[in-house]
């Protein structure tokens, strides 16, 4: 019986020209979204490559000069000497490439957060939070993070990525196909015709749903696979396919939510136009209004301390540190190591002082910064709690986890970057303080950043509440909707 109704529904749908347009739009949308997500990824990859290439070039030049210097010494004999930091090329003497302080402070190593196989599926905040972070002895990590640059107008609009398509547009397609699930049959009068036959309302409803879900989800999932195969990466790795399986699961759950909502609204037995209004309104509230309200609530309840205050505090700390630890001249030379006349002795002190200086600033600002972080964490927790108010939030959080563009994975990355920063500092500071000239061989020993992916259980446990929340919501709505079918009035009185 159900198969018969499904086949019939499919046939009727196939003869609805509007459906073809709808599906054509959906297909075009998915293709466009996959392409846009891919472009966003490519931009980051290009940025990381260009930055790394420049820094490699800089270090390569230094290495070349050290190589030449070593060769010269081999011919002329003599000890390798330490060199002052000097921006301008000098004739004869040791090149600045032998100075560990110069190499460690004047060049940066880029720590890169690798993209997952599905990163094109949800851009998340990755268009803002830089996933290639410069690490050198100069910067104080963690407090001043550089951000990716882009046209702010574009950032406001956001990327037309597959996550947007799934979260915002897929529900519209689903609702367009289901808002008149029963009401249209009732308005046309065919509902009475059907129910005069031995068919239960429940069987009719579920078959009609199945016919629509089959078409829509086939399109989404097949094209999702298509997007993965064309713009995904790491297709050989199991991780990618587990992520894709999760993606499918999340999309199914999210779609089911909207199908269930349409059932529920249809069960009230109002007209198609009424259902249309109610469903369009629900979409707006759940997808647009609630997320912005939760966001507003988070920033109102836990306002982050002003970054401007943080800046002012940092500068106060800087002034205090300077006044305490350095004479003005030292400061001057710190900024211009190349001008230090008696470099052999002085330079060491400046770098030592500079490092001490940074440490003092960091220490002074740390409490304020931690307060800042604590508020952000509270905001994040609030969002975690209030996500259940909107399937769109749950879905966004899940998709970010699945695509590896979540805030938590970024934090995981940044912790490794901080670790790497310490490693980098230690490597160069040790050699610098010992006034040990860098050799060509040392260049091979420079610390290299390699990202260690968090165990898969971590993102899984983070997205579990979201996915479970969605599942519970689907079950509740579906159960309520189908239970309410018993009260459905087939005939007006």
């Amino acid at each position: 019986m159900k198969r018969l109704i499904i086949a019939h529904e499919t046939r009727t749908l196939a003869r609805t020209p509007a459906l073809f347009w709808l599906l054509a739009l959906l297909i075009a949308g998915i293709v466009f979204a996959g392409w846009a997500g891919h472009r966003a990824n490519e931009r980051q990859v290009r940025g990381a490559a260009a930055a790394a290439e420049f820094e490699d070039m800089m270090r390569g030049e230094m290495r070349k000069s050290v190589y030449a210097y070593e060769n010269k010494l081999k011919q002329t004999g003599g000890e390798m000497k330490f060199a002052a930091v000097n921006h301008a090329p000098t004739e004869g003497g040791p090149p600045q490439g032998v100075n560990a302080g110069a190499v460690g402070a004047e060049t940066s190593a880029y720590a890169v957060l690798p993209q997952t196989g599905l990163s094109a599926f949800s851009v998340g905040q990755s268009d803002l939070l830089l996933n290639y972070v410069p690490v050198s002895m100069r910067n104080i990590m963690d407090i001043t993070r550089p951000l990716e640059i882009d046209n702010p107008v574009n950032l406001v609009s956001g990327t037309f990525d597959p996550a947007f398509l799934i979260i915002f547009l897929l529900p519209i397609f689903i609702l367009a196909m289901t808002y008149d699930l029963l009401s249209s049959e009732k308005e046309r009068g065919t509902l009475a015709m059907i129910l005069a036959h031995p068919v239960s309302l429940r069987a009719l409803m579920s078959s009609k749903l199945a016919a629509r879900a089959r078409i829509l989800l086939a399109v989404v999932l097949v094209l999702g696979l298509g997007v993965l195969l064309t713009v995904g990466s790491d297709l050989g790795s199991g991780d990618t396919w587990i992520r894709f399986a999760l993606w499918i699961g999340a999309v199914l759950l999210y779609s089911l939510f909207w199908f269930a909502l349409a059932v529920l609204v249809n069960v009230f037995g109002k007209s198609s136009a009424s259902n249309g209004i109610v469903l369009a309104g629900s979409w707006l509230v759940l997808v647009v209004v609630v997320p912005t309200l939760v966001s507003l609530l988070a920033t109102t309840l836990y306002p982050a301390p002003s970054r401007m205050d943080l800046t002012i505090a940092m500068r106060d700390a800087q002034t205090a540190a300077e006044k305490e630890r350095m004479k003005a001249l030292d400061q001057y030379y710190y900024d211009h190591l190349e001008l230090v006349p008696d470099a052999q002795n002085k330079a060491r002190d400046f770098l030592t002082l500079a490092m001490a200086n940074s440490a003092a600033i960091e220490k002074a600002v740390r409490p304020l910064y931690e307060q800042f972080q604590a508020q952000l964490n509270r905001q994040e927790e609030l969002v975690q709690k209030f996500q259940f108010a909107s399937p769109a939030i749950m879905m966004q959080l899940s998709l970010n986890e699945i695509s590896g563009t979540s805030a938590d994975r970024y934090e995981h990355f940044m912790r490794q970057v901080e670790q790497f920063h310490r490693e980098w500092n230690d490597f160069f500071a040790a050699r610098f303080l010992k006034r040990q000239p860098l050799t060509v061989a040392d260049y091979e020993l420079f610390p290299k950043f390699s990202y260690e992916e968090e165990p898969f259980a971590a993102p899984l446990s983070r997205m579990a509440p979201s996915l479970l929340g969605l599942a519970v919501l689907v079950l509740l709505l579906g159960w309520y909707g189908f239970a309410d079918l018993r009260r459905y009035q087939v005939a007006a009185r």
Binding site: R188, P198, V199, S200
Partner: protein, 233 residues
């Protein structure tokens, strides 16, 4: 075959049906007469389990329609005032769909066509989309659906209103044919003439109560009209 036992239906502010007792046997054509709002359509909807009775029960072939809704619907066929079909399917496709919904998967295209032929639908119309049909043509498909279902009871809600006299007459002939096959027919109608002509029994309803039942042979057409108007006073 069709049996209403103290059947009641009330809404928040009024009673649509106040304890109806009625029986239609196989081979009967029972015509329900009455003004709009008398409770005729309510009765039919109750037999179809489209609405839930507030009291009493409606039975089809001895089974309660509320307890065994799917089983009782196997015996029933329903022809409303406006037969509504899927406009973007052809007459034949509509018939096939409903026949199979009724559990009759066995019909081939030839048999389905034969049903449409039997109710007098032009052969070329069978493969046209229903959205191009006139009301009479749709009504014919509706009867074909009832025939294909091999229903033991037929529920008709003003089936001839809006039909031209010729179509109306053809419709009556078909009813008589079904009556001959022992089908129980319950028909709500305003058409006293047809009721007298085709009906075997006639019931007159007013404000949810069956006021009078009479055999069609017992009265002349003129008497029927007089009795009817008396009850409507």
């Amino acid at each position: 075959m069709l049996q209403a036992i103290d059947l009641r239906k009330s809404y928040e502010n009024f009673e649509a049906l106040k304890g109806l007792n009625l029986e239609v046997r196989g081979g009967d054509i029972y015509c329900l007469l009455g003004a709009n709002g008398a409770g005729k359509t309510t009765t039919i909807n109750l037999f179809l389990n489209f609405i839930h009775p507030s009291g009493g029960s409606a039975r089809v072939n001895g089974h309660s329609v509320t307890e065994e809704p799917l089983k009782t619907k196997r015996y029933l066929a329903y022809i409303p005032e406006q037969i509504m079909l899927y406009g973007n399917l052809t007459g034949l496709e509509n018939l096939e769909y409903f026949a199979r919904l009724g559990g009759h998967d066995e019909y081939g295209p030839a048999e389905l066509r034969a049903f449409l032929e039997r109710v007098g639908l032009q052969a070329h119309a069978a493969t046209q989309r229903v959205s191009t049909y006139s009301k009479g043509m749709r009504q014919k498909v509706g009867i074909a659906i009832a025939l294909a279902k091999q229903a033991r009871a037929l529920l008709l809600d003003e089936p001839t209103s809006g039909l031209d006299p010729k179509a109306s007459n053809e419709f009556s002939q078909l009813l008589l044919e079904l009556k001959g096959q022992g089908v129980a027919i319950l028909m709500a109608t305003h058409d006293l003439f047809r009721a007298k002509q085709t009906g075997t029994r006639i019931g007159i309803m007013r404000e949810g109560t069956l006021l009078r039942e009479l055999g069609a042979e017992e009265v002349s057409h003129a008497d029927l009209e007089r009795i009817y108007l008396e009850h409507m006073q």
